[in-house]
């Protein structure tokens, strides 16, 4: 393990000892669920390690709170998608219901796609959704968004590149 990583890991340990208690309590209050709060508190520190940079001591609290807030938003977003997907499944005739495994896979794709799209510029996102879900041709999208077909192609390429990277 390179020296830098050891340093960060030991810093993370310090931060964990110092901050895990309040972070967990804060999340529990916010989410009203002991287990989910514990999971998100763990995830917060995992994010910190993945980010590979440690905050200065006086900023640690704010930094951790910011990560945790992001995770809470992601969780809400995920739940929202989960609920919407469940509602949609609920309308399907039983014969057309996908298996639970398949449902889990689709939900996972949905959440991933949502995250990918959230980070793309609005026009790229719109283009991608219009093409892949509304079934519009590139000419139709170009007309709708008031851009050239060449731009539509560029947007599509950006979007699919983002999907590829995430994968």
């Amino acid at each position: 393990m390179p020296a830098k990583n050891i340093l960060i890991t030991s810093l993370t340990q310090q931060l964990y000892t110092l901050h895990h208690g309040w972070l967990n309590a804060w999340l529990r209050k916010k989410l009203g669920c002991h287990d989910t709060a514990a999971d998100l508190a763990q995830d917060t520190f995992v994010r910190l390690i993945v980010a590979g940079k440690a905050p200065s001591p006086e900023q640690s609290r704010a930094y951790l709170a910011q990560i945790a807030k992001g995770l809470v938003i992601d969780l809400y977003r995920r739940r929202h998608l989960e609920r919407t997907y469940q509602e949609w499944l609920f309308q399907l005739p039983e014969s057309q219901l996908p298996s639970p495994e398949h449902q889990a896979i689709v939900l996972q794709s949905l959440v991933q796609l949502d995250q990918i799209l959230a980070e793309l510029p609005r026009k790229v996102r719109e283009t991608f959704l219009l093409s892949r879900f509304d079934g519009l041709t590139y000419s139709e999208i170009a007309q709708k968004l008031g851009v050239s077909v060449a731009s539509v192609r560029v947007y599509m390429l950006k979007a699919v590149q983002a999907c590829m990277v995430q994968q």
Binding site: H80, L81, T84, Y85, W88, Q91, L92, P93, S95, Q96, H102, I105, V106, S109, L110, L113, D114, L117, A118, R125, E126, L129, L130, S131, R132, F133, D134, G135, L136, T137, Y138, S139, E140, K144, L145, R153, M156, L157, V160, Q161, C163, M164, Q167
Partner: protein, 314 residues
């Protein structure tokens, strides 16, 4: 083996082809270009196959998901506009209602489905319209008549009685007029096929003035000039339940049917016509149908891509 830079380049090429194929307006030259690229070698095919996992994941996400995903103001506005116009058209299990407009029971709208999609609509007169895969229909209701123009594909109608306003389905071959009834209309390249599940339907060819009244339980095919002798119904409306039913069906005919529900092409050798298929297959998963054929019949199925399937006898 190619090095990292070459792989990255191949990946980029695959992405560019994918973007081209998604255009919805691929020219034969573009298609040929893609196929030539794919045939260049194994590395190209590998890069393409990797990309197809994304394509597949996307395809499995329900079309409605577009509305659930991150803010999508334009589509949102469009939906609101449609609702203002009294039209809601959302695919799904519950029956979307095409509501009365403020003015009258007039409705002029165009509906279509993509390959593999089915769509159910409740029309303002209470009739239920279902569109099968890759179909397009114009609805033109006014005070005198209820007119549907089938441009492509297949529809099923459970019509509500309205003596004052006859319900007609028109195709390039002629017209089918419902007399309070359930019936199915499929437009094929050279003929229109109507099968009646309930009540009676009056058929009339576009030219030559040939006409016939078709009873429940029967089907008839007609061109713009002639009407063929009526036959008993088979499994014409199995698609309403999302099924493909084959009763001792030749495999080539079966593959043609399957291809209607699947984007891309299914190519097969002439010899497959000698093989016979029977069974009830779920249309929702055409991959699985192809796979199940492998267990039942001496076949070889090659996937050059998701869109390009070749079926041969062993």
């Amino acid at each position: 083996m190619s090095n990292g830079a070459e792989q990255a380049q191949l990946r980029q090429q695959a992405l560019e082809w994918q973007v081209m194929l998604w255009s919805g307006e691929v020219t034969p030259a573009e298609q040929a270009g893609f196929e030539a690229w794919l045939a260049t070698g194994q590395e190209q095919q590998q890069a393409w196959a990797e990309l197809q996992s994304i394509q597949q994941a996307l395809q499995e996400i329900p079309a409605q998901a577009a509305g659930w995903l991150k803010d999508k103001p334009k589509a949102e506005k469009r939906r609101q506009l449609l609702q203002l116009l009294g039209i809601t058209a959302i695919v799904g299990g519950s029956l979307p209602l095409v509501r009365h407009s403020d003015t009258w029971q007039d409705l002029s709208a165009d509906y279509s489905t993509h390959t593999g999609e089915q769509r159910r609509l409740l029309l303002p007169d209470g009739s239920q319209l279902t569109l099968n895969t890759s179909s397009a229909v114009d609805i033109d209701f006014n005070a005198q008549e209820r007119r549907l123009i089938l441009h492509r594909g297949e529809i099923h109608l459970a019509s509500a009685p309205d003596i004052a306003r006859p319900l007609k389905v028109e195709t390039v071959h002629g017209m089918a007029q419902a007399l309070g009834t359930r019936f199915n209309v499929r437009l094929k390249p050279d003929e229109t096929q109507v099968s009646v599940q309930d009540g009676t339907v009056h058929l009339q060819t576009l030219y030559a003035g040939n006409a016939v009244t078709l009873e429940s339980g029967w089907l008839a095919r007609f061109s713009a000039y002639d009407i063929q002798a009526a036959l008993p119904n088979g499994n014409e409306v199995a698609w309403l339940e999302g099924k493909l039913v084959a009763e001792r069906m030749q495999l080539d005919a079966f593959l043609d049917e399957l291809a209607r529900y699947r984007p891309g092409v299914i190519r097969y050798s002439n010899a497959v016509g000698k093989l016979i298929v029977s069974g009830v297959y779920p249309l929702a998963d055409t991959d699985r149908i192809l796979e199940s054929l492998l267990y039942a019949l001496p076949l070889r199925i090659d996937y050059f891509s998701r869109y390009w399937v070749s079926v041969r006898t062993l």
